[in-house]
Symmetry: none
Subunit: 423 residues, 2 copies
């Protein structure tokens, strides 16, 4: 089954918005066994929409439109779709009730432009939007499916996941594709691919291994194409097991997951409490803890000690240590991890100190240098990393480097910790 | 003058890579006064490339191709271009010398696949690649220009900036497009569009106003199309001024900018120091401070006091206050902002306390409720917000809500603060 994506929005063409939606959708379609053949970005214009739809429908069976919906701009898209599918408009009472409720909850007045969000082309099946105001639309005509969703990423993802995936599976006979993913940390892609070359060379043509690297995390995805689910799964199993074993202690999880979220799940489940003392990462590591629902069970707080003065005053580090080794040092990271554990009375303390750049580098310590430490009161582990990119990329990479260190520490001290054995 | 972009690469269609190149190119083209009408992402296939090129050439005069070049994959793209333009291949001696030098510098052996990078379609003008191995190509045939560049972002940007922009200016009489953007905070899109309706209604056909909302921030963009720069600018000026005035104190900046980055620029320039006490945002607000280069001049640190105990112990809040009003309250936010100012000895203290959800909501306080406060020791401002989305979106929105509060506070106390008057 083949699909195309059409993204609508002037903002995509003048460079104001980077389109992340269609990459996400591409991944989802691939998982479903639907081949995404083309993505087209067009302007918010009636003729542009009609042209793009006509062209895509001539090539494929599934056309997914994102964007062009919202209180100030859905007028063109919805009316154009009604015209394209040759139907009138209807008011969807369920959507209207949802909108009325939303506005009442927010204590905001409902304008005509808001009410009109409940107006949809007669021929479409409504894709109810649990995450926002603009509903999505599902058209099924002449054997082809056309989906229109708002461009706001979480709304689009919610609608696609909850409503479109089941409906696509019902509508089309999709081929059997099995993806098995694992998450690997702390190793460069080129080194990992050399470690795994002997397995890759042995893979049959219908099983493929893909490397999906992002900010010092590599997702390894084994994809099998076949006919019978059980057969394909048992055929894939030994390859998957071999890949996992070859990754050694770099293997974090036998599923697709965000490393810090995965670790925090374990912390919350185990009731092991954690606190962070950050310097150069300035809150990014704490945020990666707090963004997990239920964090309050194991997390009281963190401190950012960005200056030397605050490292001394808030964490009780000695001026002598900072003088002797510098703030960007193994010794400072170790002391920070131990101190923050005491400060917040937690089982585990973690810390970061480094040079985010562009300034602050010295002859011996380049921008991108970071020391991370973890302590449980009796043992402290510290590791130096060299991370790349601008300040924000540096911080994103730091969070994943911290996940690697936590993973190593937990593997040492908690034999039933988060790293699961391959069965 | 109209253009289209074609991006080549399977990785763009299966969700492995987010295409940032075409957004950058869109911005550059827009600045040049070239209207980008469409972006098409296709697979690494000969027929796909020929089809997409044929379609684009039927619609526009400038076609820019990115991707599909590089030692392991440029074979298809270059040979397809030679076939499309009906010519043979030639070896570019200058490119070969550059490649030979590059490999000698890196001490690496040159493979046939590397040497072949110097082979280009006879009809193209070489766009020398100072940043990598794959050269770009410029075709000028039948009045239309086709540019092909590698997909590696810094190589593409270098080639486009240094070679394509001057050649495009030489080749085409470029029309004039002026974009004027401003950033608006703390007002929903529907309400803003009602406030601005009278201006929108008065706009002539060649001047347009666009709303670009994202996480409680709205970018307003006025775009004018014309002939003479000074004329168009003076024609646009009163509309731009009216829009800015109608936004009132919701107007943050008369340019396109990230709100917290914009405010931090001002803090750093003014030497006004700042510290944050966060609860539900758990480090996200601090991170929005620290991600700005030079933050260390005005930032010593922050604290996340996630639990009541840490609010008492680390910020000295009284148990009675927390008992009487709860941690999610105006009173708690105010005390936190005042206390963190004292703790880190800064001019300004800011704070957040709320319910990120999904748990923690009460009958009177829903998930998404947040109190933000700011204090300079003599005055404290506090504001309640209702924010939507999952935990991470809640935090993203909180940062922008905090930017709104800081903006209001600075506007009150620092008449020469970041909000610039429209001239």
């Amino acid at each position: 089954m083949k699909a195309e994506i059409i993204t609508i929005g002037d903002e995509l063409l003048i460079g104001q918005t980077i389109d992340t939606n269609s990459a996400w959708l591409g991944g989802e379609l691939s998982t479903l066994g639907i081949e995404l053949c083309r993505k087209t970005a067009i302007k918010d214009g009636k003729q542009e929409i009609i042209d793009a739809l006509t062209e895509s429908h001539a090539r494929v069976d599934i056309v997914i439109i994102t964007g062009g919906l919202g209180p100030t701009k859905d007028d063109i898209t919805k009316k154009t779709l009604a015209e394209y599918f040759n139907c009138g408009m209807r008011r969807d009472e369920e959507v209207l009730a949802h909108l009325t409720q939303l506005f009442a909850n927010r204590g905001r007045e409902m304008l005509d432009s808001n009410t009109e969000q409940a107006d949809l082309p007669e021929l479409c099946h409504t894709l109810f939007n649990n995450y926002g105001t603009a509903p999505g639309m599902w058209f099924h005509a002449e054997g082809k499916v056309t989906i229109s969703m708002p461009g706001v990423p979480n709304e689009m993802k919610g609608i696609f996941t909850e409503m479109c995936i089941p409906k696509l599976k019902e509508t089309f006979p999709l081929p059997l594709i099995i993806h098995k993913t694992m998450v690997v940390l702390g190793i460069p892609e080129s080194l990992l691919s050399r470690k795994l070359a002997f397995i890759e060379d042995a893979l049959p043509a219908h099983i493929k291994l893909a490397y999906l690297p992002s900010y010092n995390v590599i997702r390894l995805r084994l994809t099998g194409y076949g006919e019978a689910k059980a057969d394909l799964e048992s055929e894939m199993h030994p390859y998957y097991t071999s890949v996992a074993e070859a990754c050694g202690n770099h293997l974090l999880a036998l599923k697709d997951t965000n490393p810090m979220n995965y670790l925090m799940e374990w912390f919350i489940k185990s009731g092991i409490s954690i606190a962070a003392a950050e310097s150069c990462t300035g809150g990014m590591i704490s945020q990666s803890i707090v963004r997990n629902a239920g964090a309050s069970a194991v997390y009281n707080g963190s401190i950012n000690t960005y200056s030397n003065a605050s490292k001394i005053q808030e964490l009780g580090l000695s001026a002598e240590l900072l003088e002797a080794h510098g703030a960007v040092s193994e010794e400072c990271a170790q002391e920070m991890a131990a101190a923050v554990r005491g400060k917040f009375g937690t089982d585990i303390g973690i810390s970061s100190t480094g040079i985010a750049g562009p300034s602050g580098a010295t002859d011996t310590k380049k921008a991108g240098t970071i020391y991370l430490a973890i302590s449980n009161g009796t043992d402290t582990m510290v590791k130096k990393f060299h991370l790349f990119g601008n300040r924000v990329q540096f911080m994103e990479r730091s969070v994943n480097a911290m996940a690697f260190l936590i993973h190593l520490f937990l593997s040492k001290h908690y034999p039933f910790g988060p790293q699961k054995k391959v069965n």
